[in-house]
Amino acid sequence: MAAGSQPVTRSLAALAAALVLAVTLGTLAAVAWRAEGFAGVGPAARDALWFTLWQAVVSASLSVVLAVPVARALARRRFRGRGAVITLMGAPFILPTIVAVLGLVAVFGRSGVVNVALRALGLPEVSPYGPQGVILAHVFFNLPLAVRLVLQGWLSIPAERFRLAASLGMEAGAVQRALEWPMLRSVLPGAWLLIFALCLTSFAVALALGGGPGATTVELAIYQAFRFDYDLGAASVLGLVQFALAGVAAALAWGLARPAVFAGGLGGVVRRWDGGGWLRLQDATVIALAALFLLAPLLAVGLRGITGLAEMPATVWWAALRSLLVALASAALCLALALPMALAARRGLWVQLVGVLPIAASPLVIGTGLFILSYRWVRPDEIALAVTALVNAVLALPFALAALVPATREMRAGSGRLADSLGMSGWPRMRLVTLPALRRPIGFALGLAAALSMGDLGVIALFADGDTATLPLQLYRLMASYRIDQAAGAALLLLALSLGLFWGFDRGGRANAGA
């Protein structure tokens, strides 16, 4: 008999999978049961569906098109600070949505620098609210992701081909046709689809910047039906629509784009022989503009937040403490789900299937389902924090698995085989071999899950009342009541906590790692 995973691991993995299925499909079943047919789909729901689709198309297209020149510039230029720019491109993934939204309002809002400049030039003002605001925020979050995906494509073109092109005397245009277009044709559809899927399930952005008939996403419509009209039937119908939308998009995107999202190593520079002169200027301009677009909102939050920190009411600090506890609980639960699943995944098909489900699941649908299942027995605000931790853990699971599964596979071939040959098993094996071998991906997964949970503004909005708000929700409330300085202070605190959690766990996983 060849060595297999331990029976305890397998039972834990089955338990974890059952929990994930219950949270994703179980809540969907509750929603479907409550939906009472599609007869109740009114014009508002159709508007929401229409807006969700077209804003996702526009957001994805803009992100991808703008990403191409930025990625090309980063691929062919070596300059001081290039590493920092690439790190910046990775930051929005763990950046709390509501912080970025506040930053965009600070820059593009009525009194922001952009409108001050426009007024000075006598040009019409822009507004960060409404459809264009939603799209602006989506581009802010997804342009960096698109840049990373496209940059990976560029770096995957073998250096020898560029050398060959140079030896044949090919100019920039010819290199583009022969080498770069074919790469873009294979990379862009996957990137577009992934971003399209992400924009379909956007809630916090639409909540803060959208709303009204012309700018309500399906997720936001679920929230409104639930929270304002208390119409569980309508919320449930919308929930089914949302699941179908996100399910299809996520399945397509996961298959096409996943390998590229998680592959590391963007450190290399393509050595190029074409593209001197004015192309150099063009690349520098493009990189500077992209960095400015990403940094300005964060700087605006930082500058206003420092003054705001002192004026923050005590409720913000309590909310921060609650968020911290929720984030830690969520990270621990996420690891408790992901670790046995990754270890039990010898061939990994069922783990991949169960692990991908949360990508298709919408937090608002899960929240609605959990509410339907629980409201007869408990008050929603009593379980708001526990539900938030649970839902966040499940939603972070695909990312935790993406980090853990390759590492467990590697371990199985190396130290796992050695441990088998020595007859190591059970807890001693876990303590002596498995945990040390997986230290880095475990640290990364914990950091990611904690940061995502810390910044999450989704299911908590359905369940919380005044006394159980998390920091992102409290921040949204401050923002909605136009206490912008206090909101900026809370945003700075939230940003520091999110990045701090990620950095701390990730660092902990790297420190003193064995050879």
């Binding site: 050695l418 040959s421 190591m424």
Partner: protein, 230 residues
């Protein structure tokens, strides 16, 4: 006695058959072209490749249903024979107890085994602080403590220089001789086979041939081996 009874190992479209036995204390070299299945044969005996047909027996009892750690076998792999994050002493102690709950007496045995392979006093080091030869010695100290009647060497010393490799083989000979262990050793070097192993198993064309006397075999190699030896 280690016996392979109508053993067939498959990996994808690759198949290897073996049907022979080795007496206790025998030392056999496993030789043949790359990709012929030398490692597969050892991994089949060690329990990392499940037999598609046939059985592996030790002293008449079937061992092919046992997990690797429960077989009467110690293995040294090509690489990764030590846990990089565990000290030399703990790596060695795994040969006594896989859960490392070592008594004072067992700790003394670990120290003695390290002394024996020339690493006395180095128990607190991490593997990365040792040279390649020293790392091999740690693995051999563990083999000494594990004291299993079959020792499989899947080219663990391939990365060492010729002098160091001879030193290691001498140490293996000493350790195996004491416990009268049956040794199967994969090698690319006919000189190793002559020096170390009385018998040789030729692996070629999907078959691990029954062991034969090493000297006469190498003096007059069969067709399949001649092409490989050149």
């Amino acid at each position: 006695m280690l016996a392979l009874e109508g053993l067939r190992l498959t990996q994808g479209s690759f198949t290897l058959t073996a049907d022979w036995a080795l007496p206790p204390g025998a030392r056999a070299a496993v030789i043949g072209p790359s990709g012929a299945g030398k490692s597969t044969l050892l991994m089949g005996i060690a329990g990392f490749v499940e037999p598609a047909a046939g059985r592996v027996l030790w002293d008449g009892a079937e061992i092919s249903a046992l997990p690797p750690g429960a077989r009467p076998v110690s293995v040294l792999f090509q690489e990764e024979n030590l846990f990089g994050h565990l000290s030399v002493a703990r790596n060695t102690g795994l040969g006594l107890r896989p859960d490392l709950r070592l008594s004072a007496e067992e700790l003394q045995r670990v120290e003695a085994a390290l002394d024996r392979v020339g690493l006395g006093g180095k128990g607190g080091r991490l593997p990365r602080e040792l040279s390649g030869g020293q790392r091999s010695r740690v693995a051999l100290a563990r083999v000494l403590l594990r004291a299993r009647p079959v020792l499989l060497l899947d080219e663990p010393f391939a990365a060492l220089g010729p002098a160091l490799k001879r030193e290691m083989l001498a140490l293996v000979e000493e350790i195996a001789g004491e416990s009268r262990a049956t040794v199967l050793m994969v090698t690319h070097d006919p000189a190793d086979a002559r020096a170390f192993a009385g018998q040789t198993v030729v692996v070629a064309d999907g078959q691990a041939a029954p062991p034969v006397e090493t000297g006469p075999l190498l003096d007059d190699p069969p067709e399949a081996l001649r092409a490989y030896l050149g």
